[in-house]
């Protein structure tokens, strides 16, 4: 017990400190203004923890892996948790999980809740197996219910662009804690898909170990229980596969209106993205231009709170690939800078009636001037050069939109789905 407390306090101090550290770093003068001996302040970065924390969850990483067939280096942490679960059941839950510890603490304030828990239906395994079933069909359900992702969202909340929708990131963890106050243990033992995963793995481990002890035959009750368990898993997995598959097909057929949103570069195709995104807020926090926002309903109801790019005042900077390094489920792929620079997320379009050159006859071409990809060609019109977008080069970064002095602006980017790979 004391070990767990110590562990938690360490984690809490580091994690609670990291947002402040980030705020502090933002207040620092830029590197070229700082003397050499203070340069380390800029290198001080605990943001890696926000990748490590959700990556410890086998539910999150497993869901992303099954659906997207990709895993990052941080995913190895989930393998460690998985191993512990097979050997010791809910060991991670009881000894490491910071959300579990918080729930435990909060639950103690309510002494009368114990019998409520008995009547609480055990939803967790269903969430887990339906989620993983969906993952097999490429559409993992309930990843956003992962406790580590919820905690991460809570820690990120302070650092992502604020909006009515970003509030959800702050509320997720508080919701769980409120639930634990009303009915202690309900989250950890009845709802949490990560908890259910560990319990299932622990059961599997026990059975594997029992397999070696042939002299002890299983009791009848244990057999019946195992049978019920297998039936439930089968039902939930099958249901998840069918539901996930249907939603993806429907998304491809009817998903027209959400095709317009701009996703971070490297995002998996839209029909998978909405499910693979765990709503942890890592990409929104990582973006130095602060253009990655929590979506409202523009990406559809099922795409609420997923990351969308809103150009102006920032744009998707050509020297940056921060959002490509932080996604725990790899809904946003790990792209190196060169790959990211060749991934088109949107396409610019000129509105001639609002354009200073096309309609105003002025020497402008500011879009061409700023374009990092040389994607603006020029066409002579009434004696002045006028901008034309070269679709084979446009990455849709939106820099042209941010600098356009035209009426409103006259050049805008619109999201494209799926993202295109540009030739050299």
């Amino acid at each position: 017990m004391r070990d767990r407390q110590r562990l938690f306090i360490l984690l809490a101090v580091i994690l609670a400190g990291s947002p402040f550290l980030a705020v502090f770093r933002q207040q620092l003068p830029p590197p070229h203004m700082l003397p050499e001996r203070w340069q380390w302040l800029h290198r001080l970065n605990l943001d890696a923890l926000s990748v490590a924390l959700p990556s410890m969850s086998p539910f999150l990483v497993g869901g992303g892996l099954l659906a997207g067939h990709a895993a990052g280096l941080a995913s190895c942490l989930a393998a460690v948790t998985l191993l512990f679960a097979i050997l010791r059941g809910r060991w991670f839950c009881r000894n490491v999980c910071p959300v579990g510890w918080l729930n435990d603490r909060v639950g103690r304030w309510n002494r009368r809740g114990a019998d409520r828990l008995r009547r609480f239906p055990n939803v967790g395994p269903w969430l887990l197996w339906i989620g993983l079933g969906g993952a097999l069909a490429g559409y993992p359900f309930f990843l956003w219910l992962d406790p580590l992702s919820l905690l991460n969202g809570f820690l990120n909340f302070w650092r992502i662009p604020f909006s009515a929708h970003s509030l959800v990131f702050g509320l997720g963890l508080l919701g769980i804690l409120a639930l634990s106050l009303i009915c202690p243990g309900s989250w950890c033992f009845r709802l949490c898909p990560l908890g259910a995963a560990q319990e299932g793995l622990g059961r599997l481990g026990r059975r594997l170990r029992r397999f070696h002890e042939r002299d002890k035959p299983p009791t009848e009750a244990a057999c019946a229980q195992a049978e019920g368990f297998t039936r439930r898993v089968f039902l939930a997995l099958g249901g998840g596969i069918i539901a996930g598959g249907l939603i993806r097909i429907a998304g491809r057929w009817f998903g027209g209106e959400s095709g317009r949103v701009i996703r971070p570069p490297g995002a998996v195709p839209e029909d998978q993205f909405k499910a693979m995104c765990a709503r942890c807020g890592n990409c929104m926090r990582a973006c130095p231009q602060r253009i990655i926002h929590a979506a409202g309903t523009e990406a559809g109801w099922d795409g609420m709170f997923t990351p969308v790019l809103r150009i102006r005042p920032g744009y998707c900077a050509e020297f940056c690939h921060q959002c490509n390094q932080v996604c725990p489920t790899l809904a946003i792929r790990r792209l190196v800078l060169d790959q990211k620079r060749k991934t088109a997320i949107a396409l610019a379009r000129v509105e001639p009636s609002a354009c200073i050159a096309w309609a105003g006859g002025q020497y402008c071409m500011v879009c061409d001037e700023h374009c990092p990809y040389k994607a603006i060609g020029s066409e002579e019109h009434a004696g002045v050069p006028c901008p034309v977008v070269r679709e084979d080069r446009c990455r849709g970064c939106g820099m042209c939109e941010t600098v356009c002095p035209g009426n409103g602006p006259a050049i805008r980017v619109e999201g494209i789905q799926p993202q295109r790979h540009l030739a050299d």
Binding site: P30, F319, Y363, C364
Partner: protein, 298 residues
């Protein structure tokens, strides 16, 4: 490092002293502002020293203990080899020379096109300025601008201009010479667009006239155009086709410096509208045949 600084310091102050003693009388004979010094060489610091010496030495420009404002071009998050920003070695040499000549401080205000931090870092200029002892100012703060009227202007009647450009003891304009999609060429007068708040107004109300208008108000004490490498197309951002003339063009007359530099691109100065307009408005001499060109080889 220290040794070189001291030697540079001695050299420049000696040059200044020589110029102060003998240079004054030579200068007095010539019509001010129509002389252009073209320095050819490989070492930016030596070329700068030679060019400034011919114009009267640093002491003719830098006032002891007073501020020097150096307007370089650090607009783009590009490496120096692209030629889209002023060469960092030239910036470093100039800041050092100004401080060596007794300047109280050297400030470099810039409102870049790329995000400031990346523009200053990747251009190599931040590092150069820091090591030379100057101060880079990112003009991304409304408080750094002052609203001014331009009585001599035709289109640009008012503008928000960097305070450091308006209020300084010595104003040096040090652009890089390069192609520019809408302005034709980006030389010294165009470089002032990095010291104002609202560039959009210029583009929408007539870019060339606004460029010329601005030079009626802001008159640099010295123009140093970096033509060590010049970008021939795809400007102002590049990367484009490069040429390496290895030149510095120095003058007190921004229009003359721009007009001469235009010839490096094999263009008639009158083809660049803002140079022609500036000449017509008598801001400086836009006629290359009337400019006295002095060539130096270092």
């Amino acid at each position: 490092m220290n040794e070189i600084t001291r030697r540079d310091f001695l050299k420049t102050s000696l040059a200044g002293a020589v110029a102060a003693t003998f240079g004054g009388s030579v200068l007095a004979e010539e019509p001010a502002g129509s002389e252009v010094i073209v320095v050819h060489g490989a070492d930016a610091a030596a070329m700068l020293a030679a060019g400034v010496e011919r114009l009267g030495g640093w002491s003719a420009f830098v006032k002891k203990g007073k501020k020097v404002t150096l307007k370089v071009n650090a607009a783009w998050a590009n490496p120096p080899e692209h030629g889209s920003n002023t060469s960092p070695e030239l910036v470093e040499a100039c800041v050092k020379a100004c401080l060596g000549a007794g300047a109280g401080e050297v400030v470099l205000p810039e409102n870049p096109c790329s995000p400031p931090e990346q523009a200053f870092e990747m251009s190599g200029i931040a590092r150069a300025v820091k090591s030379a002892g100057g101060r880079m100012i990112s003009l991304r703060d409304d408080r750094l601008f002052k609203h001014v009227e331009l009585p001599g202007a035709k289109t640009l009647k008012q503008a928000d201009v960097a305070v450091d450009v308006l209020e300084t003891a010595c104003l040096i304009n040090m652009p890089v010479a390069k192609h520019h999609g809408s302005a034709g060429l980006s030389l010294s007068m165009k470089n002032w667009m990095g010291s104002i708040k609202d560039r959009g107004f210029w583009h929408s109300k007539g870019l060339h006239q606004c460029i010329a208008d601005f030079s009626t108000l802001v008159r640099p004490n010295l123009v140093i155009i970096d033509a060590l490498r010049i970008m021939l197309d795809s400007g102002p951002r590049g990367p484009g086709k490069l040429e390496h003339p290895g030149l510095l063009i120095l003058s007190r007359d921004p229009v003359a410096a721009d007009a001469y530099s235009a010839t490096l691109f094999r263009k008639e100065p009158s083809d660049i509208h803002h140079i022609r307009l500036a000449g017509e408005m008598n801001i400086g001499c836009a006629d290359v045949s009337r400019i006295k060109v002095t060539r130096l080889d270092v």
